[in-house]
Structures are given as C-alpha cells and as structure tokens.
C-alpha cells in the first residue's frame, strides 16, 4: 500500500526536511508556532525545532514580510506564512518593490531566497476580503516566481524546490485541499532519497486525445472530475495538464498536449481579466495556431468580488459541470 498523506502533512514534511537540511531555514508567521498554525500546517514543528526556527509574529504583515525579505538578502532562508494569501495586500509594497526588484536594481548583487506561502482560495464562506487568488497578479512581476500545487505529492516536492530556490517564491496553497489525501511515497521508497519537483515543470495528470484541460491549483481537481464525466457520459477523452508553477511556466508540455488534442480550455479559480488563462491562451494561439480545431477557451470564477452566500459562492467558482459544458461546446 502506498503511503497516504494529507496536503497539509506533506507540506509539513517538506518544512521538516528543509529545516533539518539547512540551518538557515526559519519558519515565520502569525500563529505558526505555539498555536500550530491557523490551519495546522506547521503542527508539531515548534515543539521539535523551538523558538529559533519557528517564530510567531504579531499581526504586522508589512513589517514581518519585509523583515523576511531583508533577512534573506543576508542569507537567511525565511519561509513566511501569510495566514491567508489574501493578506498579501498589507505587505504588497515589500513584496513587489523589494523582493521582486532588489536583484534587478542592484545589478544582480543581491538576491532574495524567500518563500512566502499560505492558502489562496475562495469557496470557504469567508467573504471577499479573505478569498483572494492573486497568482496572476504575483506572476505579473518579473523577479518573482509563483507556485500553485494541486495535490499533496506536488505540494511537498515543490515546497522543497521553493525553499532551495535563490529567488523569491510565492507559494499558494488551498484550505480546501489541506485535509485531502494523496499517495506520497516516503523518502526511502524514492530513488533519490527524497521528493523534489523542480519549479517550471508541468505534469500531465490524465492522458487523453480529444481535448486538453489546463489548470493550476484546485482547478486541476475540478478538471479531473470533469474529464471523468466527459469520458463516461460523452465518450470524450480529455487530457488534464497541471501547470504546477505559473512562473516559471512549462510551455512545452502545454503545447505538446494541445498539438495532440487540437482543443484547449484553461480552467482557474481566479478572475478572468488578465488571468493565468489569458496568458496561456495567447501563448497557444500565437505558437501553434495551425494545430487548433477550435478557439482556446477559459473558465474562471464569475467576475465579481467573492460573494459570501454559501450556495452562490459555490457557483461563482468553476464546477466540473461548467467545464463539461464548455468542453462539449467545442468537441
């Protein structure tokens, strides 16, 4: 039996292994230590690693995120939790003008090996202020990297890569996925002795021949469900490509898949305007226009601030049914 691990537990293993590997790694954020993390991602780490390595901060996002960026310039490797990615707005100046730009403006003399992480998702009834998904906004800034794992296996492997990366990595998780379990082999089951997934490598989560569903984060799960329905009820074979990291982006895997299926839909829980799907749709049509048998489509969250009302919030985000409907419109 392969080992089953929850998304949050997989992340915790990645932290634990990196804390052991590199004494410069420090975990920081609101309630990450003594409270064990608002979403229990860091549970047990303070007990094991103590005050020096696992640090509770006051509610001062601009201050502590900026501090982490500054410390990273000196070689500390901070892994900073935003209790919700939604609170990035409070720290935005630090993230953009310092983390993303200091390398460039110093002519390459400085780099920021920092990870900023936390959940970025809607769908949990916490209203517009707490449901932001800023991956497209973050990826808009050259100098930053942006990672959105869809499952526990990827979350662990990508987190290890993010911590070892010498550039600022924005790592976006999902409270909807924290409790879900996937197969995650233990290190002694792995040929390299550890689970490590380089940034910038997409993953084909399901093979198919009629249409490519491309997605990141939890939308990948939505696509996998939609692919099952398409297969069972409509005899359509959908391939699902999980891009895993938004910047750097694995364009080849996407293009190879679309060149095979000749149809593509980008699915994301993000807003449509200048969303990740907009970039990828552009890239596909400009690169392999002749391979396309239909326009590249996209599915986003409905274009309004996140509504609280639970049944409406559920339809504001992409559902497998909507993906199926869109797929049928071009298949």
């Amino acid at each position: 039996m392969p080992r089953r691990l929850s998304y949050r537990h997989a992340l915790r293993e990645a932290f634990d292994e990196e804390l052991a590997r590199d004494p410069m790694v420090v975990l920081m954020g609101e309630e990450v230590a003594q409270y064990n993390g608002a979403y229990k991602v860091t549970e047990g780490l303070w007990d094991k690693w103590g005050d020096d390595r696992i640090v509770d901060t006051p509610i001062s996002e601009a201050g502590f995120i900026g501090m982490g960026i500054g410390a990273s310039m000196l070689g500390v490797r901070p892994v900073m939790e935003l209790m919700f990615w939604s609170f990035y707005t409070v720290a935005w100046d630090q993230i953009v003008n310092n983390a993303a730009m200091v390398r460039y403006m110093s002519g390459g003399k400085i780099n920021c090996p920092i990870v900023i992480r936390g959940p970025a998702n809607g769908g949990t009834g916490v209203g517009a202020t707490h449901s932001h998904t800023p991956e497209n906004i973050l990826a808009n800034f050259p100098g930053m990297k942006c990672v959105c794992p869809s499952n526990a296996y990827d979350a662990k492997g990508l987190m290890k890569a993010a911590i070892r990366d010498n550039d600022p990595v924005m790592f976006m998780e999902s409270t909807k996925l924290y409790g879900e379990e996937w197969d995650v082999p233990s290190n002694d089951e792995l040929p390299d002795g550890e689970l490590f997934i380089p940034l910038g490598v997409a993953d084909v989560k399901r093979e198919g021949s009629d249409i490519t569903l491309i997605a990141h984060g939890r939308a990948v799960i939505t696509c996998l469900k939609a692919a099952e329905i398409l297969e069972a009820e409509h005899g359509i074979s959908a391939e699902v490509v999980d891009i895993r990291t938004i910047r750097p982006l694995d364009e080849e895997t996407i293009l190879e898949s679309v060149a095979k299926t000749h149809r593509a839909i980008y699915v994301e829980e993000n807003k449509p305007f200048c969303g990740v799907g907009a970039q990828i749709a552009y890239m596909i049509q400009s690169t392999i226009f002749d391979e396309l048998d239909a326009p590249v489509l996209r599915i986003n969250s409905l274009d309004a601030p996140a509504i609280y009302s639970p049944p409406l919030e559920a339809i504001q985000l992409p559902t497998p049914e909507v993906v199926v409907e869109k797929a049928l419109s071009i298949c």
Binding site: P58, A62, G127, T129, S309, L312
Partner: protein
C-alpha cells in the same frame, strides 16, 4: 496633556458622572435590554452555525457587550462607528435589527448586506455604521477618514473606530494615529483589549510602555486605559473623549479591558489551550458585564429579578424569531452576483453603460 490613569477613581464615582446622572431608569433598562439582546442573538447564531446554516467564520463578542453598548450609547446624530470583523454587537447597538443581521449570517437576500458580506462584513450607513472589516486594522484609516469627513463638512461629531489588541501592531494604525494627531481629527480609537489576538497573548505580540494605549503618547495624543466591565465607567470615560472630539476636534486612544468568553472564532480549535479553563471561568463568573449591570439595576431599585428575566426571555424569543426569519428567507439570485459591484452600472448611467465592465466568457 496625555494622561495615564493608573489611580482608580473611588467606587461609585462613575455613576455620579453627569453623563450617567442624565440616564433615566428606562435608559438604564434599555442598556440592559440591548446587552441581553446582543448575547442572545449571538448564542442563537452559534446554534445555527453548529447546525450548518452558515459558512466561514463566526467571531462572537460574548463577554465584551458592555464595551460596544456603553460607548455607542453616547453617540449622537453626527457620530459614527466602524469596527473589525467582531461586529455583531456594534451593529445591534447602533439599532440594526436582529432579522437582517441573522439573515446575513445565513447568506440570505434579506441580510443587511444582501448575503454578500457575511458575519465579518455588516454595514449600515443610514445608522452611521460603516462596518464590519475583515482585514485586521483595515478599518483604522477608514475611521480616520470618517473623522476627516466630519471636520471637512464642519459637522460636530466624532468617529469611534474599534480595533483589537492585536490590530494595534499594523502599520496602517500607526500611520492613522500620526495623521489624526497632526491634523487634529475627531477620531476616537477604542482598543477592545480582550487579552488575545487569536491564540497570542498581548505580551507575546506587543511591545509597550505601561499599556497599549500609551503608545498614543508618542504621537502627542490623549489616551486612557480603563475596565470595560461597568457600563457607568465605560460611558463616563468615553464621554470625556467624545466631548474633546466634539469641541476641540481632538483624537484619542482609549484602551478598554474586556474578555471574550468563546474562541477567537467558532473555528478556534485551540481555545482551551492558550488560556486556562480557570481564567475563562473566572471572567464568566466574576466579570460578566451583563451580570454586573443586572446587580446595579437591582441595587438601584430600578428593576427586579423578575423584570430582568422577562427582558432576557423576550430577547431570547426575538433572537429565535430572527433565526426563523433567516431560515425562511430566500438566497440571493445568481444574477445578483454582478449587482453592487459598480455604482454606475447599478444605476444604469451613461458611464455604467460605456465600455465593458464584466468579463465573463
């Protein structure tokens, strides 16, 4: 000018303050009724939360009622209120109805924000109530803005801006303090100090001289620290700041000591870990602001046990009825997702009909 208040005034002196002397017996019973209604409203909302009727967070104010009720009871026509996500009590205290507040928690179209905001995002500008804010300290510059608006419009009023003991560490709050003092704006920051920000105690999150409010001294601003348990005291001490705001347009920081009985939110998994059972029990048994006011009313001969029990019963009934109202109310329609985004679009103006506003494929 800034003054510390370490020496407690003699017992009973707050009852003698003119602002409290002016209270009629009916007013005093009204304060009791309001606190009782707030507590019953939240207890009933908790039951419905546990029954799966709502999503997300529910931050309860139980144990802190005297702070919102005492301070808001002092407000007049041009005084304004703004707070954070622990916002149910302030909403009821400014006169919002239980029905619309409960329906908002259920995400119903009849809710005070049409089901769009949820527990953390109540608003009622017609009652000078500007929310209900989910981002910690995000309301603090807005409170300043309300004060700026009052001064700009030459109105005699004050903005009461509530925040927690954890929120004091946000930069936006400090910038607001400087602006308030620099431009002499009539904003009164009320730190509702319940000792904890989520699971973090005050001493683990803040550096301060004698208390959090004393930080205001660094901005050459008036400040006070006092207990929120006794409504007389809350009213007497807050009134001083309101008068200064009204007559001198001076800002202030008031730190009011209080305690929340429940977890940070209903989802607080560690509520029995970061503070002891004894501590919570002590506040419940010895420092319940409602019990305290109850004793005052009985001692003053204003109400009997029976009278007060009757009020509690009525409050309970009203709260339960608001639950029924919320249950029976419809959810918003899917089309309404796109309403209330742009004023111009909602009002079908030229501006609202020029160019594309929404990008649904």
């Amino acid at each position: 000018m800034a003054k510390a208040t370490s020496s407690a005034p003699p017992a009973g002196s707050h009852a003698a303050a003119p602002i409290n002397q002016s209270l009629t017996p009916d007013d005093k019973i009204g304060l009791y009724r309001l606190m009782s209604r707030i507590r019953r409203f939240e207890q009933v909302s908790l039951q419905h939360y546990q029954g799966g009727k709502m999503a997300g967070f529910l931050h309860l104010y139980i144990g802190q009622e005297s702070v919102a009720v005492g301070t808001i009871s002092l407000l007049g026509e041009n005084d304004h209120v703004i707070t954070a996500y622990r916002d149910h009590a302030h909403a009821l205290a400014v006169g919002m109805g239980m029905d619309e507040c409960m329906a908002e928690l259920f995400g119903k179209a009849t809710g005070c924000s049409k089901g769009k905001g949820g527990s953390m995002h109540y608003f009622e500008p017609s009652k000078n109530y500007w929310g209900g804010h989910g981002i910690v300290a995000g309301q603090t510059p807005l409170g300043l803005g309300l004060a700026y608006g009052l001064k700009f419009k030459k109105l005699k009023g004050a903005a009461l801006c509530y925040l927690g003991d954890g929120a004091v560490n946000q930069g936006a709050f400090h910038e607001s303090l400087n602006l308030a003092a620099l431009w002499s704006l009539p904003v009164i920051y009320i730190i509702e100090n319940n000792g904890y920000s989520m699971g973090t105690s005050q001493s683990r999150s803040s550096a301060y001289p004698s208390c959090l409010a004393e930080r205001a001294a660094g901005y050459d601003m008036d400040w006070e620290l006092f207990s929120g348990e006794d409504i007389y005291e809350v009213r007497a001490r807050t009134q001083v700041a309101i008068e200064r705001a009204h007559t001198l347009s001076r800002p202030a920081v008031l730190e009011i000591a209080t305690y929340r009985w429940e977890g940070h939110s209903v989802a607080d998994a560690n509520k029995e870990k970061y503070r002891t059972k004894e501590e919570v029990e002590r506040f419940k048994n010895e420092h319940d602001p409602i019990q305290r006011w109850r004793r005052v009313l009985i001692e003053e001969g204003i109400a009997s046990e029976e009278d007060l029990k009757k009020i509690d019963k009525e409050a309970q009934k009203e709260a339960e009825a608001s639950g029924d109202f919320a249950k029976a109310s419809p959810y918003p329609t899917p089309e309404s997702i796109f309403e209330d985004v742009y004023w111009e679009v909602d009002n079908k103006t030229d501006a609202g009909q020029t160019g594309r506003h929404f990008f649904n494929d």
